[in-house]
């Protein structure tokens, strides 16, 4: 995990891709790796990696963002420095737009991505109704692979209900995440949970593989 030059975080929109990508970038940077994060969301102009620009920059993460992120230009465009990830020494984490629509942009660079070396992870959130059924989630995986012309290496189970998420919510999503791994033949790499649930989760499910993360969503109230 995370030993290739390019790490791609993809999945259904609203499943928590940006949260995972930003947490991962911050984590790797804290460990001393040279990291870039690429906001490649060409679908939705809201809730972008750019919201965390300040925090990421303070950790030494190089942020590659669309020029007009968070402005009133409602056609998100590719960041001009995007292609630098194929020549840079840094590890690049790509935060892709939602669904197979968002993954289309990867398809255009599939050759470069494959040549540079990549890992791609599917973010699963059981509480997003469109992919709650694992068959629908699997279909989404196939659709993303098709439009990105790339293959998934594993699944990150990010099942959550936002701030209200309880230990129960996390635990009851585990069987679905495992089933998705079984159906798709891709390993369940990890289950993510907010840091405040850490103590409870490691006591109730000591055998599960958790990564504890921060909620980096823009807070307005």
């Amino acid at each position: 995990m995370y030993n290739k030059k390019i790490i791609i975080i993809a999945g259904h929109y609203g499943c928590g891709k940006t949260n995972i990508a930003v947490n991962l970038a911050a984590e790797l940077a804290k460990e001393g790796q040279a990291v870039s994060i690429v906001d490649l969301d060409i679908v939705n102009p809201y809730f972008r990696t750019a919201d965390n620009n300040k925090m990421l920059t303070s950790f030494g993460v190089d942020t590659i963002l669309p020029e007009f992120a968070n402005t009133n230009v409602d056609i998100p465009s590719l960041p001009v420095r995007f292609k630098s990830i194929f020549v840079s020494d840094r590890t690049a984490i790509i935060d892709v737009g939602g669904d197979d629509d968002g993954a289309v942009v990867l398809g255009g660079y599939a050759k470069d991505i494959i040549n540079t070396g990549y890992e791609m992870y599917f973010v699963y959130n059981k509480y997003r109704p469109s992919i709650a059924d694992v068959n629908n989630a699997y279909y989404m995986m196939l659709a993303i692979e098709h439009s990105s012309k790339l293959k998934f290496d594993g699944i990150i189970n990010n099942s959550n209900l936002g701030e209200e998420t309880t230990t129960d919510d996390i635990l009851s999503a585990l069987p679905d995440a495992k089933k998705l791994a079984e159906i798709s033949g891709k390993p369940l790499f990890t289950t993510t949970a907010l840091k405040r649930l850490k103590q409870e989760l490691i006591t109730t499910a000591p055998d599960e593989n958790f990564i504890f993360i921060d909620d980096i969503t823009k807070k307005i109230f």
């Binding site: 939705n44 009133n72 997003r128 109704p129 936002g162 009851s172 109230f221």
Partner: protein
């Protein structure tokens, strides 16, 4: 296990509409509302309904008129500039006494404006959505759970009062995600739709859906009848929520997403010993006039917080008959105020 799901506001409105029996959706894409149309387009074919992307907002609202006349539960959605285009059709729907649900996920204006959240269509929604003597019921959700519940309510209110009902949201509510429980909707008794144009088969007199009246007296009578319904709406359908108003000396009045920011500001003010409270109108028409008027007897000053240059402030002044001062604080253009900015205003007025 939770029966809640995690949804965007736009998705929650669409899902709630389908669950409320909405069979027809006519829309036209516009940011920040497009996820709603997209959800409808994906879901409707599998759930016994139809979602159609019209050639324009004007076409969409007129399709709503036709569908409603046939008795279907029908919805359209757009964002500010698109709602302006629907104005004529909305007036015709009101004039024809037809129920429907219209969603406005507001963005900054005027003109093309921007794509970030705003509340600058308050006047339009509550005063002037179309020509003629008319109102719409206007509901202002403040969280994703309410986006869902009020959408279901909107369909019921529309059928009960034979009027369009607007969900007045904004770009933030449309785009943000929160847990939703769709089972929480209250159940209402609905009247039979005896006025529907669905073929009389020689078994009943024909129904005509129309907004043109040749005789002035007949048109006047229609308007009087409609305003009797508005009176009933004003008497029975007012909804609001209050927070710490019991002993409040300064009351912040805010609706929708702004009310949530204001609530944090009220907490910050209380921590400093300022007796602040929050009044949140849930129905913007009917506006909670009576309650505000009563509050004005014991409150020293009101602060209207809106994502506009000052629109609801006028309704507050009218409601309290200018018994106490009412001040405005707003940000526009898609800029969201932070709680501290509202707190600064509360502090200044509390002195």
């Amino acid at each position: 296990m939770s029966r809640k799901v995690l949804m965007k506001g736009n998705e929650a409105v669409a899902e709630a509409a389908i669950r409320a029996g909405c069979k027809l959706f006519f829309g036209y894409p516009i940011t920040p509302q497009t996820d709603l149309s997209e959800y409808m387009a994906k879901q409707m074919p599998n759930r016994g309904g139809l979602s159609l992307q019209a050639e324009s907002e004007i076409a969409a609202i007129n399709m709503v008129l036709g569908a409603s006349a046939s008795g279907a539960r029908v919805m359209t959605s757009s964002s500010s500039p698109g709602i302006s285009l629907k104005g004529e059709g909305i007036s015709y729907i009101v004039g024809s006494d037809l129920p429907c649900v219209i969603v406005n996920v507001q963005r900054g204006g005027p003109g093309l404006g921007g794509i970030q959240p705003a509340q600058s269509d308050y006047f339009q929604a509550t005063k002037a959505l179309g020509h003629g003597d008319m109102h719409l019921i206007v509901l202002a959700p403040a969280n994703i759970q309410e986006m869902a519940i009020l959408t279901g309510e909107a369909f019921d209110l529309a059928d009960i009062y034979r009027t369009p009902v607007m969900i007045l949201a904004d770009g933030a509510l449309g785009q943000m995600m929160e847990p939703v429980d769709f089972a929480a909707k209250p159940v209402r008794v609905l009247p039979e739709k005896t006025w529907v144009c669905n073929g009389h088969q020689n078994k009943r007199p024909m129904n005509i859906v129309n907004s043109l009246y040749i005789q002035p007296e007949e048109l006047e009578q229609k308007n009087i009848e409609r305003f009797e319904r508005y009176k009933k709406i004003e008497e029975t359908e007012v909804k609001y929520e209050e927070y710490l108003t019991d002993d409040a000396e300064i009351v912040v009045v805010a609706y929708g997403i702004t009310a949530r920011i204001a609530r944090t500001a009220v907490n910050l003010a209380r921590a400093e010993g300022i007796k602040a409270g929050l009044h949140r109108p849930i129905t913007l028409y009917p506006f909670p006039k009576k309650r505000l008027n009563k509050l004005a007897d014991k409150v020293d000053i009101f602060l209207s917080v809106e994502l506009n240059m000052g629109q609801m402030i006028d309704d507050i002044k009218l409601a309290i008959e200018c018994k106490k001062p009412v001040k405005h604080f707003g940000r526009t253009g898609g800029v969201m105020p932070v709680p501290e900015e509202i707190l600064d205003n509360i502090r200044r007025l509390a002195k």
